[in-house]
């Protein structure tokens, strides 16, 4: 079996926070840095989970190829940037569109036939994830690629903060507001929510669930592509990068429970903060392990997810 390196989300270039030569005596700076790091951890979990949450929340389909959708979003961005496109255009427009279209094809060819068969969709999408890994390896080769972060870092007291962290936090906040706004205020959101609760009722009112699912899957894939693209400058991208995302996305969404935005926000908040506390206290590896252990404990205590017990009925 060929070794399959699973890269952690590792920062390229500018470090997480470089300890300055003169040790800072001001704990204000440190607490600000920690606050930003916490927010960043929560925001990246929200980004990673959003696409999967839309697909799972709406259609009860677990897309195990989600990580590969993100990986393809990253590759789309890097390819576009190398072709001379502005990096923000590539990240925010091109990557979501391309991955959304790939998702559309996947939905029509595979997932459409498996609605209502939860385990089968998981298996089929796992197959798809392997397929996409193989495809990407054949096209781009099994080498690490990447682009540099487009926003420079800056110093807070004795610490260096990656400016790109703020961008990710902003994107995550806008994303949540956007999802909420679409679901609450637009007609499409209303129809989608209706189909989510009672597909047969929506069908009898003249909306085709098939179309709605198709559109939802497109949106979910596009969100995955967006997340992969936005996180791409922070990681060295290899075809197997998706594996680093899928478990986190999976547990964030499952632990979040049935409500889309509230679940995503609460579980991303919980896991992000837990992992950061352990990262600061002990080491990054322990932080990752703590996240996973927290997930196991949380699921044991709240098998329906956080919003299955609390905040029920919210979006």
């Amino acid at each position: 079996m060929p070794p399959r390196p699973e890269l952690p989300l590792r920062r390229k270039g500018r470090g997480r926070f470089l300890y300055a030569q003169n040790r800072p005596k001001d704990t204000m700076d440190l607490s600000f840095v920690i606050l930003v790091e916490m927010l960043y951890a929560v925001a990246s979990l929200i980004l990673i989970g959003a696409g999967l949450a839309v697909v799972f929340g709406m259609m009860k389909v677990i897309n195990l190829a989600h990580g590969e959708f993100m990986m393809m979003g990253g590759y789309a961005t890097i390819t576009a940037v190398n072709l001379g496109v502005n990096v923000f255009v590539a990240m925010l427009i091109i990557a979501p569109l391309i991955v959304g279209l790939i998702g559309l094809v996947v939905e029509r060819l595979v997932i459409r036939h498996l609605y209502g068969r939860l385990v089968d969709t998981m298996l089929a999408t796992w197959g798809l994830s392997l397929f996409f890994i193989g495809m990407t390896t054949m096209i781009f080769g099994n080498t690490t690629t990447g682009i540099s972060t487009p926003i420079p870092g800056f110093a807070v007291g004795g610490y260096q903060i990656n400016g790109y962290n703020f961008f990710i936090i902003v994107v995550a906040v806008l994303l949540l507001i956007g999802i909420l706004a679409v679901l609450k205020t637009t007609r499409a959101g209303l129809v989608a929510r209706g189909a989510m609760q009672r597909a047969d009722m929506a069908a009898s009112l003249g909306y085709s669930p098939d179309r709605i699912y198709m559109a939802t899957f497109f949106c979910g894939s596009a969100l995955s592509g967006l997340a992969g693209a936005v996180l791409a400058p922070l990681v060295g991208l290899v075809p197997t990068s998706g594996g680093a995302y899928i478990a986190k996305a999976f547990i964030t969404v499952i632990a979040g429970g049935p409500s889309l935005v509230a679940g995503l926000l609460s579980s991303a908040g919980f896991f992000g903060i837990v992992s950061r506390i352990f990262t600061f206290a002990i080491s990054p590896v322990i932080g990752e392990v703590a996240l996973l252990v927290a997930a196991v404990i949380l699921l044991r205590l709240l098998p329906q997810g956080i919003t299955g017990r609390f905040l029920t009925g919210r979006l």
Binding site: V110, A124, G134, V285, R300
Partner: protein
């Protein structure tokens, strides 16, 4: 489930004896050994998933745990008999604890999948990070990403210098697989096995009949883990190194693909699926035009879409249609006589 256990045992012995005799003539024993080991690993998931209805996304965790337990114990003890036993027991105990946590919490399908997946990932991440000299168990250094090489491989019990390797090792593995197969058959024929299948079919009904579903699922889960652990120990002996890749997601994915392709709910399916696909992968590894992962993924998708029951059940029903007794014909006959009675009577 027709026929008796003794008939099953005799059939297994005859077929496996023929296979053990013929197969080395076609494929090198070094490759065959790993196919046999993968077959055992496939059987372990086939037992708990196909008959118990427990979809475990982390069977690789028990496989890796078995391999690591063997390696660490073998370095410390310097003889292979006790490590092999430990490699069966440690994953079984671990699975019993994990299973008790999950089943007594009444977690089902997706949540079960998440937890087993996450536990595998924890082990993977932890084993990868154990590179420093402070990670030592007895005399064995964990070695992080590089794994543990250079442990005592399988020897004749009681004689640490009489190594079993090469062709002899293949025969040991093949016989082990046959024994495990017979034990699994016996388990499935026992009342425990029948109730396990009942739990798969309708958990509530079995619970209402007064059986303790949670305890039974936990035990079945532990048995599956024990088989996976044995496969892991045999794999460690075959590869003579254990690395964290044994815990990887792709390893877990592969076990699931074997079961799906071979056929769930059969004993033979997962073994054939594992050996067949592993051999296919071995053949594909010799060319570089098409990526291996791509083909594995495609196979999984196509099977889920078009042959979700797997090859062995499909072949079995084909056999029944072509050669077997026809229950369908009898129904027609009954209907015909009944019609005759109604019209002619």
């Amino acid at each position: 489930m027709t026929g008796s256990l003794s008939r099953d045992v005799i059939l297994t012995i005859i077929v496996s004896a023929i296979l053990i005799w013929i197969m080395p003539l076609m494929i090198a024993t070094y490759t065959l050994t790993v196919l046999v080991i993968y077959g055992m690993l496939g059987l372990s998931l086939g037992l708990i998933w196909g008959f118990g209805g427990i979809l475990c996304f982390g069977q690789a965790a028990f496989f890796g745990l078995g391999a690591y337990t063997y390696a660490i114990a073998a370095i410390n003890i310097g003889e292979s008999t006790v490590p092999i036993i430990l490699a069966v027991l440690v994953p079984a105990v671990f699975a019993a604890l994990l299973g008790a946590m999950m089943f007594y919490g009444r977690l089902t399908d997706v949540y079960l999948g998440v937890i087993t997946l996450v536990v595998t990932l924890i082990l993977f991440k932890f084993m990868n990070s154990t590179a420093g000299p402070q990670y030592v168990i007895g005399k064995a250094r964990m070695g992080g990403f590089n794994g543990i090489p250079g442990f005592q491989t399988l020897n004749v019990p009681g004689d640490p210098d009489a190594y079993i390797w090469g062709d002899a090792y293949f025969y040991v593995c093949a016989v082990a697989l046959a024994i495990v197969f017979v034990l699994v058959s016996a388990l499935l024929r026992s009342s425990f096995g029948r109730i396990a299948v009942g739990i798969r079919e309708n958990e509530t009904r079995i619970a209402l009949m007064g059986y303790d579903v949670r305890a039974r699922k936990t035990v079945l889960f532990a048995v599956g883990a024990a088989i996976a652990g044995l496969a892991g120990a045999l794999f460690a002996n075959w590869g003579e190194i254990v690395t964290p890749n044994l815990f990887s997601l792709s390893q877990s994915a592969e076990i699931i693909i074997w079961c799906i392709v071979g056929g769930l709910g059969t004993r033979l399916g997962p073994i054939l699926g594992a050996a067949g696909l592993a051999y296919l992968k071995f053949l594909l590894g010799q060319q570089s035009m098409i990526d291996n992962t791509l083909i594995m993924g495609l196979i999984l998708v196509l099977f889920v879409l078009f042959l979700p029951r797997g090859i062995v059940p499909a072949l079995a029903s084909l056999w029944r249609i072509s050669f077997g007794r026809r229950p369908l014909g009898r129904i027609h006959q009954v209907r015909r006589t009944r019609n005759r009675e109604r019209t002619g009577g």
